[in-house]
Symmetry: C2
Subunit: 644 residues, 2 copies
């Protein structure tokens, strides 16, 4: 390419704006934010111990690497799996890259090098790379972009290449990415092929590759891809409307995400990258409006998105059925990526709030506590006696892998890069967005964070190295944390929920900020337009949404028959149980059993007022964090509980 510039970003974690980018906050360099103990560290260690290794094995047994070898001509046979098989390789490579950054591990580096070689060998002379298309598609390129996922695979390759380059310093995969990106630049855009891929992600990938290489054309192409959408550019196939492909309304005009949930939020995340790097305030405003639309009527209480199983789509506004929640794990990840980029662009706490809610309650349920099994779909309710055992295991239990294995490596890369979402820096100082025990080094200062979050609301931040001069330490106070308190060096300061607690001063080594978030039970209800949970409440504590599981209920009480009174729930005691589900705080909920008349038909005459439905007797049953459900006996589960 002709235009090159020195990379302006430091070697940092996902979404690293250039120095020219219009952003309020900047990520801290890789390794400068570290989660060293506690809740998320344990999840990361399970990911490290189990998932990354298993992923490496699955790439071999599921055929992904073999596909690339066949494309390279070093193996023969038919390629296997869905058309986007290469993307699993890239997402795993990205995970391995970030994981290497968490602590240089020779074995992981060996795997990265080995897989990189396989990828590089498959690449065509002119940079094109897509093993399934090269073999099954007989090398025909871009003949069915709405479905072929050729750019989708490329986007994941770009993200992987940047991760591996940032953490290992090795350029093997980056060279492959650049060669493919150059090919795309030469092939797509105004006056060339004017089409877009059915599945966004190349936009994020191209911007990140621009950030890493300084090649401006990558950014320009990403921007073109963002703006080309929404004009019906994608031919409707298989009876679906452009909506499915986020191609009904231009990104700049949309008021709410729609269509396939993962595609929609990957697109908006990429658009946020474009907005940042091109200082496009109009685009950013449009994205904020879409994000607000999502939050106002298309987000589950867990943060999960996508309520339709058919075509994995967003539903209409307020269409948020808990039993049929699709809430794909990948969609939660895409939502986090989008919110993270909006946070960087604006510095607004609401984006970090949604990152927190989504990570704990929509992303984390996607993986078993052992780090070995995955949910693709995350319902908020499973009925008692639903499905036969054999069906359950497929539809509801976590599985070791999938034919369409997008979620597992997506979870891996997110957990491996999670340290990056904890803190940012700006000219003003350092911002703490997520609460985890660890260290943050930014702006010349170093912080030590200690907390037993999410079980305990106390977050202790010690200024280990004050840096020079006065600067602002900003701590996010979640919107749910009404009544939070804080002290600085023992002195109380004013705290407002939903805003950053901003402490501007000249710090001394050893200064301690103590933020205390209220950890009482919160009972929430939904807007009455959410028909599916009318008359129900959900229970939260700290950042966690809770659920009832059948296995915790007394004999004879099925989860669907639990009824609650809000006033009784408020005083529900919390109890930390280290032996349960790798250590969780359970809530002991007072509940009532519904009473069903025998032999009453499904539909019956309605009384003037709804009939009382529950026994007066109070039973106490434990609720567990929703993320931990289905790690024991798989049975009925409910997040939303009907009022008595």
């Amino acid at each position: 390419m002709t235009t090159t510039a020195s990379p302006t970003s430091a070697a940092v974690a996902p979404a690293a704006p250039t120095s020219a980018a219009a952003v309020a906050l900047r990520p801290v360099p890789t390794g400068a934010s570290r989660i060293t103990a506690g809740f998320w560290h344990e999840r990361q260690e399970a990911n490290r111990r189990q998932a990354i290794r298993t992923g490496y094995e699955k790439l071999q047994t599921a055929g992904n690497l073999q596909n690339l070898r066949i494309a390279a001509g070093t193996a023969t046979g038919e390629v296997r799996g869905p058309i986007f098989m290469d993307s699993d390789v890239y997402k795993w490579l990205e995970a391995a890259g970030w994981e290497y950054g968490r602590g240089a591990d020779a074995e992981v580096l060996g795997w990265i090098r080995e897989v990189t070689e396989v990828v590089a060998a498959a690449q065509a002379e002119d940079g094109y790379l897509d093993s399934v298309q090269q073999v099954r598609g007989r090398g025909e390129r871009y003949v069915d972009l709405p479905w072929s996922h050729e750019h989708y695979c490329a986007g994941h390759l770009f993200q992987a290449a940047v991760a591996v380059h940032r953490t290992t310093g090795e350029t093997g995969l980056l060279d492959v990415a650049v060669k493919l990106a150059d090919h795309l630049v030469a092939t797509f855009g105004p006056g060339r092929i004017e089409e877009v891929d059915g599945h966004p992600v190349v936009e994020m990938g191209l911007v990140e590759l621009y950030r890493e290489t300084g090649t401006r054309e990558y950014l320009d192409l990403a921007r073109w891809f963002v703006d080309a959408r929404g004009h019906g550019i994608i031919e409707t196939k298989h009876g679906k409307q452009p909506t499915y492909f986020s191609d009904r309304v231009p990104v700049r005009e949309a008021t709410s995400p729609e269509g396939h949930a993962v595609r929609a939020v990957y697109l908006t995340a990429g658009a946020a990258d474009v907005a940042a790097e091109t200082a496009d305030g109009e685009l950013l405003t449009a994205l904020a409006r879409q994000w607000e639309g999502m939050l106002a009527s298309k987000t589950y209480v867990t943060g999960g998105i996508g309520s339709r199983w058919d075509w994995e789509q967003f539903g209409d506004h307020h269409e948020l059925s808990p039993d049929r929640a699709y809430a794909e794990t990948c969609a939660a990840i895409g939502s986090v990526q989008w919110s993270w980029r909006m946070l960087l662009a604006t510095g607004e706490a609401r984006y970090a709030d949604l990152v927190e809610r989504t990570l704990y309650n929509a992303f984390l349920p996607g993986v078993s506590l052992a780090g070995t099994e995955y949910f693709y779909v995350n319902p908020l309710q499973l009925r008692h006696g639903a499905h036969a055992e054999e069906e359950r295991s497929a539809a509801h239990g976590r599985r070791a892998w999938f034919d369409c294995a997008c979620c597992p490596p997506n979870i891996m890369r997110t957990l491996s890069s999670l340290d990056a979402y904890v803190a940012t820096s700006s000219a003003a100082g350092v911002q703490l967005h997520q609460f985890a025990t660890g260290t943050v080094q930014a702006g010349g200062a170093r912080l030590r964070v200690a907390t037993d979050y999410p079980w305990d609301g106390a977050v202790r931040v010690e200024v280990a190295d004050p840096g020079t001069g006065a600067w602002e330490l900003a701590l996010r106070v979640p919107a749910w944390a009404e009544g939070a308190t804080a002290t600085v060096a023992g002195e109380a300061v004013e705290v407002r929920a939903g805003e950053y607690l901003r402490l501007h001063r000249t710090w001394s080594a050893g200064d301690v900020v103590e933020l205390t978030l209220p950890m009482g039970v919160r009972v929430v209800e939904a807007d009455p337009r959410v028909d599916a949970v009318r008359g129900c409440v959900a229970v939260e504590r700290g950042p966690l949404v809770y659920a009832l599981e059948q296995t915790d209920l007394p004999e004879g009480l099925v989860a669907d028959d639990v009824r609650v009174r809000v006033a009784e729930l408020r005083g529900a005691p919390a109890e930390h149980r280290p032996e349960l589900l790798e250590g969780v705080t359970v809530l002991q909920l007072p509940v009532h059993a519904a009473v069903h008349a025998d032999e009453v038909p499904l539909y019956r005459p309605a009384g003037d007022e709804p009939a009382p439905q529950a026994a007066e007797e109070v039973l106490t049953v434990p609720a567990v964090p929703y993320y931990a459900w289905a790690n024991r006996d798989l049975g009925a589960m409910r997040v939303w509980l009907p009022r008595a």
Copy 2:
């Protein structure tokens, strides 16, 4: 075939048991039950005028007939459409056959002959017939029975052939059917190919062909197909479990239908035919249990079935979301076919009750009032502002035809044969199951029925010809009709809702029975386990379920914001409006507008009691019969209305 017997059934409408069959009731001969005026007659006339003709044209333009010509070698090119394209031809032929029976029409007969020739020419020497498989599948047979629909197409051919034979007396199509059935008998069953089709219907078709021809092997094969299912005989493909194919549990052991709704009820309907013709009481009992299971927790208030868009399936028990109701029109038709066969077998009123509910509220919404456009899917709620216009037309508006055009000709054949569902006869006498103006000739007697049902509850039955001796006239009193009254020759008789009014006597010509069904507004609620409509009620009048449509609401009130008080609804006045929707009785419902606080987040702290949500002011808005929705402006619609 070796075994033949004289056909024992008279020439009657669908599902005509042989004289040896174990049934309580028998259909009356074709033409002996006639709907001559009123509600259903008008729907039948729209079907006759518009749909049958349009169907004939669509078979040409959509490629169905061309496919058969290509298979016959009289045309060249690629076959078009889905794998079951032939079945549309057969369903249309069946409709044309019954329609010819409604009133001999030379043009219809000409079409039948023409299409029959096309079908016959495509048949292979040994009887095999499936144009798509013969051409696209290069003649390979039965290599993918779970998906190939080869038996499915055959089953529809058998039903069509019987209809055409019964009404025209011509044997052309019957010859084709027999040749194919003989081929199936020679090919499938114990010791031959021991597999079943992924999509049932061949069972019903084979039994009906047995009834028409007396060939016992057809019945035996149907029975074998019924009993072979449920043992995992269908290899799981595409990640779906045997559940989808009704292959998880044997028919004799199932307690509730599950999986693909149309497949499930076509199977049970065929099994009911088998049970009748083999006097298999055990099988009938199992089917009754399944039917009860369906009614207890898997049926919409409309009678519609199938709550999942993904794979068009039954949901779990009580999973009956109104907004995402799939409630495929074909599934409603299958449900009617099943209930009809259960009614014949048992004579129990509850089966005729469900036929009524389903015909009016789940089948009829599937076709526009003009008879020209069809719903494949029948939701019970469409949100205000849902989808963009372009999306709406595809997802929610009726359409003239579909790529997968199963529903339109299925509607046609049902309307054309509807007369058959009105009455039956038995040794005891004559039974009236559905209320429509017309004549019934059975058991030597002749009845004249006059009614303005479903708008008016008065049904007048005049004994035009009393026949000889004493016999019982039985009139179904719907379960909803608490408070119904009746007179015989002016004298009051006792009436019980949910049972037949049985009048046994020696009748005289001119005797009149007047049944008066109460036509007040009924307000119903669902079992509280139906989470999706918690706190809501639906409004019914007579056999009709009502709905609110946005187009009828005052400016500023959206359908989703309507709240109701049950006590106020009970007195809602009914008003017949002949100019509206081809004449409907509307209900003037007193409602309240919900009040939404501004800027309240989607999830919010719950009060001890649900907050009052509606304004005190009473507005009066008209509700229309659900079947008539979406015949004007397509907008928001609700069947279930939240309580204030």
